[in-house]
């Protein structure tokens, strides 16, 4: 099993959610995060004094999946999240040892 994690621009969340829904992804988790990548933050000037805003608001999307669907999911996320401008975010995939559904106690692929 795999965990697909994407850090994306807030305004792209709707598109990513739609794309994952179209693939039949059963569930996902989103959280508010702050950070920066290559675009760094930005500077603002007030009364001649420069201030650097280092951390920008982002959204982290996490999806659990089996190994068969993982590439489709990654492709769907990057297609939906891409604006072509710096700051679009990143997607990474990690292996997951086990998954347990809390309500039933099902494990592994059955719990997805």
């Amino acid at each position: 099993m795999k965990l697909v994690t994407a850090v994306i621009k807030p305004y792209q969340l709707d598109a990513v959610k739609e794309a994952l829904h179209a693939l039949g992804v059963a569930g996902l988790t989103v959280s508010e995060v702050q950070g920066y990548g290559r675009q760094k933050g930005h500077t603002e000037v007030y009364r001649g004094a420069e201030y650097t805003v280092e951390f920008l608001p982002k959204i982290r999307v996490e999806v659990l999946t089996d190994e068969i669907d993982v590439e489709k999911i990654v492709d769907a996320v990057i297609t939906a999240a891409r604006t072509g401008k710096i700051g679009d975010g990143k997607v990474w995939v990690t292996s997951v040892d086990d998954v347990i559904r809390v309500r039933t106690g099902e494990r592994g692929l059955d719990a997805l």
Partner: protein, 454 residues
């Protein structure tokens, strides 16, 4: 003499306009401040409305505008008893200017001048944000009002040595209000010290729309401040009104121009600050100079104040919201402008020749002596008051209180509810997601309003 209804109505309206400037100032300063001290910032303005109004009626007005029987004493301070308290004996008295009744009850003049005293003290607070004990502020306001504002108002407008003997001019308060408050701000700041983390830490304005709203209210109220200062309604009133608008508009352009050239982008904070700088600068001169000189004054004041607010970084004093850079510098520019452009063609009160209307420095040196004297006096007394408060441990809040926020430490309240249940947004708001309500917890302790579905 009977009451002149036109003059009186205008001065009553002007009084209300000038009062509105102080809540405007609270928004202007509150928005420029960091969020954790914004209520304290606004409270420093609002507390002046409370405290100074009462003190003005009790003893401020008579000491500033009463006439002392001894002409020697009258040069320094007004009468101790003429308008002491809230005597109804002078309720029907008509105010005199130059021995002539102007058809306005003395009560109305008292109310009008009260609003000036309030905002002058409040102006100082902008340099002291986030670190001055609120109790210390109240004591400072009491002391500075009594020892500085009241006598200086008398020197300039109440028949004291600056107005009556020196012949320096100050139409609506360039020296009495802005230079006075600006010099005091510098005096206190040097004793009070910098905010923890300044200038290394990010202390950008937390609410720019507040800044713009505050500047707008100040601009609106300033018509009462400037055009009202003629007291009556005549050609000088109209000149003051028009000059106020022109100089302020030009200063807004001047400040933005500096930003555009230097930083690449004009800002809303800059436009608001430029407007205030223009209002400050035109205040002393608005009733003495022609409109073209007012436009020039605005451009110069807007540009110079935009540059002057950077001086604190060079010299290392934490004038938090630039009271020195805007009010002290702007007030001086306006005061000197009288020496350059004042003309009897606008106001018959102009008795000495200015540089561009008569080719003489006769008025200019009087302006320098007046503004210089008030600068030194106000700076000195303010610094002494701060030193006394410091010795009494009433000046600065503890480090914990300052870092945690003076709003919580000294007032027990916060400006904004930033918890998700209070509707705060962040990235989720940008993404169009509303955070789930946190009130309905599993132990059944749902908010009363949500128990209907039970």
């Amino acid at each position: 003499m009977e009451i002149n209804t036109g003059n009186t109505a205008w001065l009553l309206l002007s009084s209300a306009l000038v009062l509105l400037m102080t809540p405007g100032l609270a928004l202007f300063y509150g928005g420029l401040n960091r969020s954790k001290g914004t209520l304290n910032m606004m409270m420093m303005s609002f507390s002046c409305i409370g405290l100074i109004s009462v003190l003005w009626a009790l003893y401020g007005f008579t000491l500033a505008f009463g006439t002392n029987g001894s002409s020697g004493v009258n040069k320094i301070l007004g009468s101790f008893s003429q308008y002491l308290g809230t005597g109804t004996s002078w309720m029907n008295e008509i105010w005199q200017v130059g021995g002539q009744g102007i058809g306005i009850p003395t009560y109305v003049v008292m109310a009008f001048q009260m609003m000036f005293a309030i905002i002058t003290v409040a102006l100082i607070s902008g340099s002291l944000s986030d670190r001055l004990k609120f109790g210390g502020w109240v004591l400072f306001a009491l002391g500075w009002f009594t020892l500085v504002y009241v006598p200086v108002a008398h020197w300039i407008w109440g028949g004291g040595w600056i107005g009556a003997n020196l012949g320096a001019l100050d139409f609506a308060g360039g020296t009495a209000v802005h230079i006075n408050a600006g010099a005091a701000a510098l005096g206190v700041v040097l004793v009070l010290g910098k905010r923890i983390g300044w200038p290394r830490e990010n202390m950008r304005p937390h609410n720019v729309p507040f800044v713009a709203l505050g500047a707008g209210l100040l601009w609106f109220g300033w018509f009462g401040f400037n055009a009202g200062s003629e007291l009556t309604v005549d050609s000088v009133t109209s000149a003051a009104f028009v000059n106020t608008q022109l100089a302020t508009a030009a200063a807004l352009c001047g400040w933005c121009l500096v930003e555009w050239l230097r930083d690449g982008k004009p800002t809303m904070v800059g436009a608001s600050s430029g407007a205030v700088a223009g209002l400050v600068a035109v205040t002393p001169a608005c009733g003495f100079i022609p409109p073209l000189a007012a436009i020039l004054l605005g451009i110069v004041a807007g540009a110079l104040c935009a540059l002057a607010v950077s001086l604190k970084y060079r010299f290392g004093y934490d004038d938090s919201l630039d009271v020195v850079g805007v009010h002290f510098v702007g007030g001086w520019i306006g005061s000197l402008w009288i020496g350059l452009f004042a003309t009897p063609g606008v106001n018959a009160v102009v008795a000495h020749k200015s540089l561009f209307f008569g080719g003489s420095a006769d008025q200019l040196w009087r302006q320098i002596v007046a503004s210089g004297s008030v600068s030194i006096y106000s700076f000195g007394i303010a610094a002494i008051l701060a030193l006394v408060l410091k010795a009494a441990k009433a000046l600065r809040v503890s480090e914990d209180a300052e870092v945690g926020g003076i709003d919580i430490a000294d007032h027990g309240e916060t400006a904004y509810d930033l918890t998700p249940s209070g509707g705060a947004g962040g990235a989720f708001a940008m993404a169009g997601i509303t955070p789930p309500p946190t009130g309905a917890s599993s132990d059944g302790a749902a908010p009363v309003g949500e128990k209907v579905a039970g």
